[in-house]
Symmetry: C2
Subunit: 335 residues, 2 copies
DNA sequence: TTGTAAGCGTTATCAT
DNA sequence: ATGATAACGCTTACAA
């Protein structure tokens, strides 16, 4: 059905060696090159990448593994990584492990089988051996958003500790003495970092931490909604809330709206991740913005560098800064 | 580095033919099978899928192409398709074409090169030749959510016309004479279907259509927000709004909250797609729910059937019904 | 510059 | 039941 180099050779009367050369950019008589290119077009010949991969051990494709297709941060970063790699001639295979470490392992093996030249992963943190296995095969891996104990590996992280510290500091310096934090799951690296920032700034300002104001969600909308309701229904509710991802921020805003609690006037909120949101909510929402595009670029840059064989500065752990955009959803408290 | 059949053969003293047989389930002496399996474990031998693909012309993987990683419907359906295929032993390669038909073409070719056994796509509608090309190579294709003129091909669709008809009918029968619709882009198949349902029900109820109440967004949150503001600021605003996707529904709710316009009491709204939302918004949001999971299952089922060579009932266009969940965001109008 | 042939790791055919 | 071998389509020495 699909034509092969052999067909092109037959049609042109040249050998497959010569055909291969024009495909891969070797030196060929101009007259033959033209002849061959014409034949290629005529036959609609496409290189069989599988055969090529088998021979060269390279596939010009990179695997990207993410935990969920329903998380704004993840899909956004992955989209940027893909876009950047695509620009550089690399195809991408995106795999979703649905927050399931077992599936994560499967996908890792799947990508190895597909002979990807590199792996980019937003890991669960619970899978280690399979990643080491890939590294041992000399396939570069770049971790996004979290390190994994026992693995020495390139990574691109956001300085979540300081992002959180700075956000909460803004609330504290405006007089908020009771700031709640809605974290992600306890066992997630970034979630923990953000909590640590919250705790550290309290300590540095000599403010007592009320454990009732520390809530753990699951990064989905509903948990933001539920936890926000819990907070505002406390007998001694917080005067401000720091929410640590986009979907939960959406839930918090929804809960406040429903209860007719006015942003800024009655409660101050700093949200996370989605700049678009900031503009839509009124009063405009203060927000921590992770540099998705920068992350994507850094990741793509790093993996391409490794694929080229450049091992300088290994392992490279890039830490990017989040930006804090203060808007009108935060007010001063006067006692 | 990684071991091959040859290594297993050497270690066991048997031939590669025999090894291959136990891998693929042929008849082998029990004693040898045990020997071989032990060796396979010992060497951590894994079949080289690339070599296998080259030989068999099958890859046990299916390509999934979607227009955006930031659209709830798309990612949700794709996640289900993937989950179902995975259960049946098929790997998946997910490709994002970022709403760009040129990228869509690239991805289609990429997947052909990767020798996928089938292609599942949520198409832009603007790419035709590349899909036909794939079909001509005898690689089955299943379209999701839209048909493409000039292509005879399996597809799984939602009956958007009736979904829309039924939703708007609910508003009309409750006395709403001015119902706005926030559509997706004009050139999107499903968007058009939903508009047609809206128009048809108006005609059947002998209600005049005010073209000012028909708005076209882009399926992103902000356009729902912006268009909702436009609507409520009209001199003769609608008494109800039908929003035709999830992200725009989010935008509409945000706009209404911001303007302190009470759902149901002051304006009725029927939204789209995300059942989770319905519960979070108060009063609870009436909503059209597309059967994402059913779609995913139908798609996976269909493509697997075609891959097996079963061409019965081709092309199979499955039309699934959306469900209308009426909640408290819709009120009766008494004139 | 061009052609020939080996080899990538499988599967599958055909003797044995 | 097992083993030897050709073939899948390509790249890459090496020979011509």
């Amino acid at each position: 059905m699909a034509s092969t180099i052999k067909d092109v050779a037959k049609l042109t009367g040249l050998s497959i060696g010569t055909i291969s050369k024009v495909i891969n950019g070797g030196a060929v008589l101009e007259i033959n090159r033209i002849l061959i290119e014409k034949a290629i077009k005529e036959l609609d010949f496409k290189v069989n990448e599988t055969a090529r991969s088998l021979k060269t051990n390279r596939s010009k494709t990179i695997g990207i593994i993410l935990p969920s297709l329903e998380n704004y941060f993840c899909t956004s970063v992955v989209a940027y990584v893909e876009q950047y790699l695509s620009k550089h001639g690399y195809g991408t295979i995106i795999c979703n492990y649905r927050e399931d470490p077992e599936v994560e392992k499967e996908k890792l093996n799947f990508l190895v089988n597909k002979m990807v030249d590199g792996v980019v992963i937003i890991p669960s943190g619970k899978v280690k051996d399979e990643i080491i296995n890939i590294l041992n095969r000399d396939v570069p891996v770049v971790l996004i958003d979290r390190l994994i104990k026992g693995i020495n590996c390139d990574a691109v992280l956001v300085d979540n500790f300081n992002a959180s510290y700075n956000a909460v500091e803004q609330l504290i310096t405006r007089g908020h003495k009771r700031t709640a934090i809605i974290c992600g799951p306890k066992d997630v690296y970034t979630s923990d970092e953000r909590l640590k920032g919250y705790l550290a700034v309290h300590e540095n300002y000599n403010l007592e931490v009320d454990n009732n104001l520390i809530k753990f969600g699951d990064y989905y909308l509903k948990s933001g909604y539920d936890l926000c309701l819990q907070l505002i229904e406390m007998e001694n509710p917080p005067t401000s809330i720091f929410v640590t991802n986009y979907d939960m921020t959406l839930g918090v805003i929804t809960a406040l709206n429903e209860k007719n609690i006015k942003l800024s006037e009655e409660i101050s909120v700093i949200g996370f991740d989605n700049i678009g949101m900031s503009k839509i909510v009124k009063p405009s929402l203060s927000i921590v913005i992770q540099p998705m595009e920068q992350i994507g670029e850094a990741v793509a840059h790093l993996i391409l560098k490794r694929i080229k064989g450049d091992k300088t500065n290994y392992p490279n752990v890039t830490r990017l800064k989040a930006e804090l955009v203060m808007k009108d959803s935060v007010s001063n408290v006067n006692y």
